[in-house]
């Protein structure tokens, strides 16, 4: 089995982002960037499939600025074999991302495409589903478990009522949730080795996909501030406050 894994470089999940005063976006200068956490789980799942003998090759692809080679290198240090960066400085919407990935799928002919279920910057939760739609492949989103069974996959998905296990034939799209696995931290020798793995940097124009945004981002605003906290002195005081709130709710 050949696996394509898509990864995205985003503001590190631990950074508290700040909205720019002019409302044009969030502050990205001098902010720590890293691989989208969900994508780490997707990479780890691919590596585990190789280790289990179920897959033979992992191609890592990212779309973004030159610096995105960092996250491709991280994925290759974890066990990816080859990397492709589709380079662009522009804002690329999920639909265009899905179309670019479709072009890579046409070149690489993977049996499985693994992606994170969402990226923690725009929180869209769209690309995997869109790629599946464009390719007319089955999709198993929000995966917390993947097993290979003769020619297909059994995937346990996290859904609103708990979990559901489905089977899909290959080729298929799977998007990773956080309980899928524990992504490894690549040891230094693996990081060094990743630098000698093939990484093709290709301009977005090469793919013949129209990446003009369909949506206009009019403005980005900070969320409503919550008034500051109020300490209560004792459990009794809290109980009184709680009862007060409850009777207000009943009055509604």
């Amino acid at each position: 089995m050949k696996i394509l894994v898509a990864v995205k470089r985003v503001i590190d999940h631990a950074v508290r982002v700040r909205v720019k005063p002019d409302g044009s976006g969030v502050e990205t200068a001098n902010v720590r960037m890293s691989m989208n956490p969900f994508d780490k789980h997707a990479v780890e799942a691919a590596v585990q499939l190789v280790e289990a003998g179920a897959a033979t090759e992992i191609v890592v692809v990212s779309i973004g600025p030159k610096q995105s080679t960092d996250v491709i290198l991280t994925a290759m240090a974890m066990g990816g074999h080859r990397g492709i960066l589709i380079e662009t400085e522009a804002r690329v919407e999920t639909l265009a991302v899905a179309k670019l990935l479709r072009a890579v799928v046409a070149e690489e002919a993977p049996d499985l495409v693994l992606l994170g279920k969402q990226a923690v910057d725009d929180d869209s939760n769209q690309v995997g589903q869109m790629l599946a739609g464009l390719l007319d492949w089955p999709q198993a989103t929000f995966a917390s478990e993947i097993t290979v069974v003769d020619g297909g996959l059994e995937v346990t998905r996290e859904v609103d009522y708990g979990r559901a296990t489905v089977s899909v034939p290959l080729p298929a799209i799977v998007t990773a949730d956080l309980r899928l696995n524990e992504p490894r931290n690549a040891a230094l020798p693996m990081v060094m080795k990743a630098r000698s793995k093939p990484l093709a940097v290709r301009p977005v124009a090469e793919f013949g996909v129209d990446v003009t945004p369909r949506l206009t981002i009019e403005k980005v605003s900070p969320p409503a501030e919550r008034p500051g906290g109020k300490l209560v002195g004792s459990a009794d005081e809290l109980i009184a406050a709680l009862k007060g709130e409850l009777s207000e709710l009943e009055a509604l």
């Binding site: 923690v120 989103t141 296990t165 489905v166 899909v168 949730d177 009019e218 209560v232 459990a235 709710l249």
Partner: protein, 308 residues
Amino acid sequence: MTVLVLAEHDLGHLSPATARIVAAAEQLGTVDVLVAGHDVSGVAAEASEIAGVARVLVADSDALAALAPDALVGLLLPLSERYTHIVAAAAATGRDAIPRLAAKLDLMPVTDVIAIHGPGRFDRPIYAGNAIETVSSGQPKQLLTIRASAFRPAATGNAAPIEPLLPTVGTVTKFLADYRTEGDLPDLGTAQIVVAGGVSFGSAEKFALVADLAKALGAAVGATRAAVDAGYAPNDWQVGQTGKIVAPDLYIGIGVSGALQHLAGIQGAKKIIAINKDPEAPLMKIADYALVGDLFEIVPALIEALKR
């Protein structure tokens, strides 16, 4: 303007989210509700009672039993021609199907909408709710998922006509099994009160204190990712960026630090109570009532006091 709302349902009942999505969709145009599934006549009857619904379309088919996204999109594709907006709740079914449908229609969807400013102008949170993006779309059709928690439910008392469709869809996805969290607790996404616990409970047995307090209050139970990862709570109780979004009148967080990914799920809470031994925990800083102390002493005392 004509809007098709995809109904959310489970075990033969309409989810409480749907009445909220209908209320939101009414801002966009005339609302038809689509009930897709197998043996869903009861769901259709419930949907027809929602105020503001013009028609309920019912697609009843074996292939739709598990709402596999390929089958659902196969159903929605021809239907979408008649509508300016296709809308679903930002919940598992809608999140799965709407982007797939959008790609097939060569459209950019807008997901997790929290405010509607016009037929093609919406607010959606980004960066775990630390920023709100206002987007406008000049596309001929809008595909949306909407956060139920951001809208009030439509009233009931309607009797909209129910029209069967004859779906001819198929799926390659086989449904094998589900794992449900049993219980009679209120729906987390739309509950008026939510009691949430963190990893500091230390075991599933002790986490039951959260459910005990919730029962005493008629509340739904939530959990942090850390508590779910540790196996103290089922995954469908997770609240946050990657869990459920709640907007109760009252949220009680017990031993919950208030990591930004958790806060992402409770921004719509009207009042917050926090119980934590660390006064510096981020949730304590934004709580309307914050009590410093040991949860193992405070929670039983609360339960006792509420029984009285």
